[in-house]
Each structure stands twice: as C-alpha cells, then as structure tokens.
C-alpha cells in the first residue's frame, strides 16, 4: 500500500492492505492479530506495520512510503476469504468486488505490456 502520510483512515488501510481494524485486533478473514489501541482512527501506520509484521519502505525526499504485505503463514493468502478488492474503471468510479456476492467470479489479470 502506498502512503503519503504515516496516518491513514481505517477504510484506506483496509482497501490498501486487506487488513480490517476491529475491536479484537487487525483481521483478515478469520485471522486476527491482537492490537492494543486498534480503535484509533486515523491509524498509526508504523504501529500497525510492526504489529502485523508488514515492511515499510520510505522515500522521504519524495514524501512517499510503501507498506508491504504481511507474510503470515508464509503464503500470499492468509485466508481463502477474498479481500474486498476496490479498484476504479476507466470512468474513475470505484468498484468493489463484494458487490458481486451471489455470483461466481473470475478475476482476470492482464497488462498492456
């Protein structure tokens, strides 16, 4: 997840990383990591990164930080529950994967190169 500040809203954190901050901690599907003080919004990114084990790389001269994914269980997926992907189309409108519940979905990745 890309950051221009080390404080983001819970919603932004969830959209960018798939981790949802709940009273019981940081959760992805049924996997939850206890996090003291997780009720705060905006979120202290450095504290969350440390608790979940997400790497943070900085380019301070450009005011940019990048938060890498967690590597829980040594797999890309921590759970089979699909994260709620949120991406725009050509019209710029955000689409949410969860809006297709009730249908079988094939997510197809391509690239113009």
């Amino acid at each position: 997840m890309l950051l221009r500040s080390l404080r983001v809203s819970k919603g932004e954190l969830e959209a960018g990383t798939g981790w949802q901050l709940k009273p019981e901690g940081a959760c992805q599907g049924e996997v939850c990591i206890p996090m003291p003080g997780s009720a705060g919004d905006p979120v202290d990114v450095e504290a969350v990164a440390k608790a979940i084990g997400m790497p943070l790389v900085a380019a301070p001269e450009h005011g940019l930080w990048a938060l890498g994914p967690a590597s829980i269980g040594s797999r890309a997926l921590a759970s089979a529950q699909a994260p709620d992907l949120r991406l725009p189309g050509l019209d710029g409108k955000e689409f949410r994967l969860s809006s297709l519940r009730g249908q079988k979905v094939l997510l197809y990745a391509w690239a113009p190169y």
Partner: protein
C-alpha cells in the same frame, strides 16, 4: 474471446472481472480496453494490488471466487479459451524486428493447458462447490504463492518504485524496481512492468520490447530482460503446469 465465454456463462451466475495491471494506469490501459469493448467490469490496478492481495505473479492470471466471496482457486495462469489460442500469432505483421521474432518463438514454447483449464472452469460454473476443481479453503491458502519477509519487503519496494515512476521520478524508481526484482524473483509482472517503462521507440511495440534497444543496449538499467530471462529458465518453465 474471454468476453464471449463470459456472455455464454453469465446466465448461469458467472461473472468476469478484468483487471489491467499498469503503473501508467488509465493512460496505459485505455486503448486496449476500448478496443475490447468489454461488457464486464474492466478495472485498472496502478499499484499492482492484485500482487499484494492475491499473489498474482504473471499475466494472464485468474482467481476464482465463489458466491460467498471465498476463493476456490488462487492465482494461476489463465490461458485463453482453446478456440482462440492461436489468434494473436496469426494477426501479427510479417515485418517484425528480429527481437520480436525471437520473443514469439520463446512464447510459443510456454506450456499451456487451455483445454484442461477451460473444462475445469465450465465444471465449476455448472457444479459449484461440488466441482472437484473448487479447492477447499486450506488448499487455496496452501497453493497461493510462497511469501516470506524478504518477498514482502520486495512488494514494498515495487510499490514505491511504481509511484516514483508515476510521479515522474524515473531515475529514483529504478533502484527500487531492481530491489523488487531481487527480492521477488518469481514475479514476472514486477519485471515486465519495469521493463515496459524503458520504452524503445514510440511505436506500438515500444512497451513490448522488454529489453535493451538496438541503438543503445548499454543504457538498459536492469540485469535481466524478457528474452534473456526466459531463455535462462527455459520457456517451458515460464508458467507452472496447470494442476487440477
């Protein structure tokens, strides 16, 4: 070809969502999307969120998700439907630069199983959870890409590189792309994305060159390039074999 399949299977409760992975975002994807005139959702992923959230390492790839939002097959190579598989090769012009002829020759050796994959897809659409191709949650997690701390760090470097590129800091982006390639050696998308930004010329092949240009080969800022890297591993190992 995917769209025809989508339209055929849509009445059975199937939906296709296509996602273009490109740091150049809309500018990079628009011409391709407009030419395809998609009826399904067509999204743009500037930050390669699909790599981070779903473990996508190459394109084209697919992830299957059931009616309840559970992944039943993690990211895997997604060959075009069998009847369309050779369409692109036939439509290429004869006047290709030598490098592209060599790329095409290597690409032809890439192992694919469109028949197996598409028979499985139809079976799943028909039978749902009862299909033997719909994997159990534990198996889905187990089959997703291996990820350790160094790969996770490589994802962070990639994201930083992509944004630096978007912001016009090309020289600053290159060391982070290189670090991402070193830390996540199994990601072809991370390499292809970076290589595509070193455009050779400005024609339609510029981003597909994926390696040093003929005029200034010494200016290439990366250790690898598509042709050399594919030859080094053997084109038959470019994609993992499709597993039922």
């Amino acid at each position: 070809m995917w769209q025809a399949l989508r339209n055929e299977l849509h009445p059975k409760g199937f939906e296709l969502v296509t996602v273009g992975l490109d740091s150049q975002g809309e500018a990079g994807c628009r011409a391709f999307i407009e030419a395809a005139k998609p009826e399904q959702r067509s999204l743009i992923d500037r930050h390669h969120v699909l790599a981070e959230l779903f473990g996508v390492i190459n394109i084209p790839s697919s992830i299957w998700i059931d009616e309840n939002g559970m992944i039943v097959r993690p990211a895997e190579a997604a060959p075009a439907p069998p009847q369309a598989a050779s369409g692109m090769a036939r439509s290429l012009p004869a006047e290709l630069p030598q490098r592209f002829k060599e790329i095409m020759a290597e690409a032809a050796k890439i192992r694919k199983d469109p028949e197996g994959y598409h028979a499985a897809l139809r079976d799943w659409v028909e039978k749902g959870a009862a299909s033997r191709f719909a994997l159990k949650p534990d198996e889905v997690v187990e089959r997703s890409r291996p990820r350790d701390d160094s790969k996770a760090l490589g994802h962070a470097h990639f994201q930083l590189a992509a944004q630096l590129e978007i912001d016009g800091h090309h020289e600053a982006a290159i060391p982070h792309f290189r670090e991402a390639h070193r830390l996540v050696p199994d990601s072809w998308t991370f390499r292809r994305q970076a290589w595509s930004l070193e455009k050779v010329g400005d024609g339609p092949l510029a981003r597909f060159w994926q390696g040093p240009g003929p005029d200034a080969p010494g200016a290439w800022p990366y250790e690898g390039d598509w042709l050399s890297d594919v030859r080094a591993i053997g084109a038959e190992n470019y994609s993992e074999p499709w597993r039922p």
